[in-house]
């Protein structure tokens, strides 16, 4: 059977693996490649896990019963990247195939943008839903850390990394968030959550951190300022606020992120799952080193090294524990502002999607800082929503709404409100 969607999938490379027999179904969804589903390979974008076919479904897959799983979407290796160029497949931007989809859940955003009525589930270890949603011109909802069970999710980082939803319409967020959220005995963090209440609360007040548009591109600044004016015209009160500890968010996020990543990556050494084609005559250490050196990508190696260093000697106190303390300060900054406002507004990304070649060449430290708006809410476990808010050179620009822990309700209201007020464009090749 041939589907009209197949050429699109081939051209834009959003899937690492897909089931062609489900392409023409109505209720379709996909999983980023770090979420397990029986019958599909789960590599988290890594050569290390090539061939790993889990024998169980992730919690979200069980809850999506009745919907058709098309396949697994391409992503950065273990979620380590902002442009989906560090994994085993590079998805193409639906608005310009020469440009990046953003990352790490880039394939998910591409699928949401190109496949009519499709729901893409992605994961975010530091803005990995907001970034691709902004670059691909779709809605990206990252719920509170713990709102959706992570049972069956391959760990990149532990204290971040919620599963979220990317879609082209707000009613899909409204329909699927309640379906896949809730407590799960198999994920203790999910047990902390209060009940999800959706009451269609009206968005009344928003805060914009002082200086948030410093050092962003002119097109992003202009689109963001126009969007703030549009919100004001809809009777949303907007105030500029001071968040003095926000400057710690990015460095602290990366310390915690690489430390947790290095710890989680220890398990990948040519045993139990994934590749096991090594030389069994080697001593243990040599066997492990051979796998990790051969099959980890450059960014994963770099994070393993940096994360290992963060836990050595005095660095544990001076860097890692200090960063956990800094996270408290950043959370408190957000809580203080969100005590007086419904949401905090920021741009989603500081520029429009770069060319894939430029993204591949970008140095790691430079790429980390591109997530300076998208990463802080995830670092703090706060829910956030990216919406398209403008276009430059035909490429989408995103704006981010951040709300208080467990308050996804106001983000769904914001998505509805924004969808009615702003003329969102769809990629021309859509089917």
């Amino acid at each position: 059977m041939s589907s009209g969607r197949e050429p699109l999938i081939e051209r834009y490379r959003m899937f690492s693996e897909f089931d062609a027999s489900t392409l023409d179904e109505v209720l379709t969804y996909s999983l980023s490649d770090d979420i397990t589903a029986r019958g599909f390979q789960a590599t988290a974008g890594s050569e290390m896990l090539k061939g790993y076919r889990p024998l169980f479904d992730a919690a979200v897959v069980s809850k999506m019963n009745g919907n058709h799983l098309i396949g697994k979407t391409n992503m950065d290796e273990f979620g380590f990247g902002m442009f989906s160029v560090t994994g085993t497949g590079i998805p193409r931007n639906p608005f310009d195939p020469e440009r990046s989809c953003g990352g790490s859940s880039g394939g998910a955003a591409c699928a949401a943008a190109l496949l009519e009525g499709h729901v893409a589930l992605g994961t975010s270890g530091g803005g990995s839903i907001t970034s691709p949603a902004a670059f691909c011109g779709v809605l990206g909802l990252t719920p509170t850390h713990g709102r959706i069970s992570r049972y069956g999710q391959i760990d990149g980082v532990s204290s971040m990394g919620p599963i979220g939803i990317l879609a082209s319409k707000s009613d899909l967020l409204r329909k699927y968030l309640p379906l896949i959220s809730g407590k799960d005995d198999r994920d203790p963090v999910s047990a902390a959550q209060p009940e999800l209440r959706i009451g269609n609360r009206k968005l009344k007040t928003a805060a914009v951190p002082k200086g948030i548009t410093d050092n962003v591109s002119d097109s992003v600044r202009s689109a963001f300022e126009d969007s703030v004016e549009l919100l004001k015209s809809m009777s949303v009160s907007v105030e500029i606020v001071d968040m003095p500890h926000l400057k710690y968010a990015m460095p602290a996020h990366y310390v915690v992120s690489v430390t947790e990543a290095a710890t989680n990556l220890v398990q990948y050494c040519g045993m139990r799952c994934g590749r096991q084609d090594g030389d069994l005559s080697l001593p243990f250490n040599d066997y492990f080193v051979s796998f990790r050196s051969k099959y980890f990508g450059t960014e994963t190696k770099l994070r393993s090294i940096m994360g290992t260093y963060m836990t050595m000697g005095d660095n544990r106190r001076n860097m890692y524990l200090r960063s956990l303390g800094a996270r408290n300060l950043v959370i408190n900054d957000h809580k203080r502002v969100l005590g007086e406002h419904d949401v905090i507004l920021t741009p989603s990304m500081p520029f429009i999607s770069p060319k894939i070649d430029d993204a591949v060449r970008m140095r790691s430290a430079d790429s980390y800082m591109t997530g300076r708006f998208a990463a802080p809410p995830v670092f703090c476990g706060l829910p956030c929503l990216s919406v398209p808010c403008g276009y430059s050179d035909g490429m989408p620009i995103g704006m981010q709404f951040i709300s208080d822990h467990w308050d996804e309700d106001i983000l769904l209201s914001a998505a509805d409100l924004w969808e009615k007020a702003f003329d969102m464009k769809t990629a021309e090749v859509r089917s």
């Binding site: 713990g146 902390a192 460095p251 050494c269 050196s293 190696k301 090294i305 050595m312 303390g325």
Partner: protein, 90 residues
């Protein structure tokens, strides 16, 4: 960080860095460490937590269950006055 230190830390992480890659990795590690300088003025605070949200132990409800064939089941294990006999500990 010097190249030798990067190579040593990579070894602890069970990653072999060939000399051709070492310079690039050293540059990347040092660029990363430069970003972290902003943390130098974070006040010392021991009230950190490992999750960004409050996490608590959630115990399942203690629900008594009646076994309809309890006597049959007890035949398969040691008993004492109608109770299941556990293994000797001391």
């Amino acid at each position: 960080m010097e190249k030798e230190t990067v190579k040593r830390v990579a070894g602890v992480a069970r990653i072999d860095l060939p000399d051709d890659d070492l310079e690039r990795f050293t540059d990347d590690v040092n660029a990363f460490l430069n970003i972290l300088n902003a943390l130098n003025d974070v006040p010392e605070d021991d009230s950190f937590r490992f999750e960004p949200i409050g996490v608590f132990d959630a115990l399942r409800d203690d629900v008594p269950v009646v076994f309809e064939n309890a006597e049959e089941m007890l035949k398969c294990m040691g008993t004492y006055n109608g109770f299941v006999r556990g293994p000797k500990i001391v």
